[in-house]
């Protein structure tokens, strides 16, 4: 129990958020939204880590969240750069159009 809320609740909440992110990745064609959904997934993980951190009374979980944030920022920077390049070349960021290489 942390502050009166069972850890299970947090795990479930994070799982739900994570899965919403996954569904978003699967269901959307707009690359930016897809990317955002991935961010959502990461945030679910963050929340979970913080919850566990509090559970264990251990700061490293929260520190890990910093790193995830840093990475997310870096990923977004690179990702959006690539996206804008793709947009320049394809004039679209529809992920279903990016299927020239196959088989």
């Amino acid at each position: 129990m942390l502050n009166g809320i069972p850890i299970n609740y947090y795990i479930m909440l994070c799982a739900v958020l994570f899965i919403i992110g996954v569904v978003g990745v699967m269901a959307r064609r707009n690359a930016i939204i897809v990317f955002m959904c991935i961010e959502l997934m990461l945030n679910a993980v963050n929340l979970l880590l913080v919850a566990f951190s509090t559970l264990h009374q251990d700061a490293s979980g929260q520190v890990f969240v910093f790193f995830i944030m840093a990475v997310a920022a870096a990923e977004v920077a690179v990702g959006l750069a690539i996206l804008s390049m793709v947009y320049r070349n394809f004039k679209s960021i529809d992920i279903d159009l990016l299927s020239r290489i196959k088989n």
């Binding site: 559970l55 251990d58 990475v71 690539i82 390049m85 793709v86």
Partner: protein, 463 residues
Amino acid sequence: MKGLFILSGLGILAMLAEIFKFKKVLYPLVLIGIIVAYALGFTEWNANFNIPMFSNMIRFDNVALAFSGVILATSFFWFILANDYFEKDHITDHFALVLFALVGALMLTAFSNMTTLFLGIEILSIPMYVLAASRKRDLASNEAGFKYLIMGSFASGFLLFGIALIYGATGSFDLMAIRAYISHNGSELPAFFYAGVLLVLVAMLFKVSAAPFHFWAPDVYEGSPTVITALMSTIVKTAAFAAFMRLFLVTFGGVNETWGMILSVVIALSLVVSNITAAAQQSVKRMLAYSSISHAAFMLMAILANNRGMASVSAILYYSLAYSIGSIAAFTVVYHVSKEENGSSNLEAFNGLAKRHPLMAVCMTVAMLSLAGIPVTSGFFAKYFVFSLLIGTSFNWLIILAILTSAVGVYYYFKVIIAMYFKAPAKHDGITIDSSHAVLLLLTTLITIALGLVPNFVIEIFG
């Protein structure tokens, strides 16, 4: 450890080179730097064993050093291969990115904390996303980078979720602590700990491109510039395996009944899918991508056999070395042939290569033989070690499957050989290649054979 710093320093230096105008010396500097890093690795051999560094965030023990050695050696060859690549625009950026990726790769060989694992993976991946997309006007390259990015980030999400769950169960990111936790709590581990392990497994399987998490690999390999493909299929793969091994042989070795069966199915699926799909490929580059999946399956078999102490480690070490060297040779040839054919690496482009450039044909043949696992090339020993690890375990059936699919493998590797020696070339003029590339080809070919003749050095490296 020192290698890590040197490479980081080199990376930063490369960025500075743009500003301070010493681009010309950068290339030799990098080569020297790699050699120095390699040499420094030797000084650390046996020295830092079991001494935790930075609160046990990273641990350059002998295994890590050995894998770093493989990565550094491969990267040395790769830089020779890539000399053309760096002559274009953004030279310093490319250098920096590759060097940073190498830093990530080295971290993956030596991490001993989930944090460093995660950072290592990301430091390796983010430059690779960029490099894959580095031919900015090329749609294929764009697409490759984009696909790699999306899939990679997506997989990272699972990795993190897994890590979080493990953290939740164990209260620590430290591998030793997790291991101690497993052995301490034995059978009473919470279910979500296993879920965490499996999610990490999935993420790692994605990184080593095992079926059914492999789909990104052929597309990305094909779309990326050939040189980058070579980098991905050698260094990235080796690093991923080093990480995989550290996680699943060392850390999660205690719960192998959780992931063993799953891994075996994944291996079987990878073997079948990769070999069968490769059989019909017309593009040699893409074929090599599929072949890399099948080799990944073989390396996973060594991990699966998780019961012989250092044997699995040295088998994977040998395998990754053999495979990397062979791949470098193969990609060098593919690079030149496709350059000749305006970027196409179709099988027809190889027709009559034996007449047009005998050296390339011979080296390609040796590389193909090695990838196919024919004695006395190193590829054979690699497969042999895997077989000998797995035999007598409950996974004998995997060996049979591996043999059958190897026969299919022979089919597509030999398609290249047949094309080179048997088919008439479309053009009859010879191909000229850089003397440095000729040396590279010879060197990798010799190493391939030498490793096959004297595998001792690698196999007995851990005593």
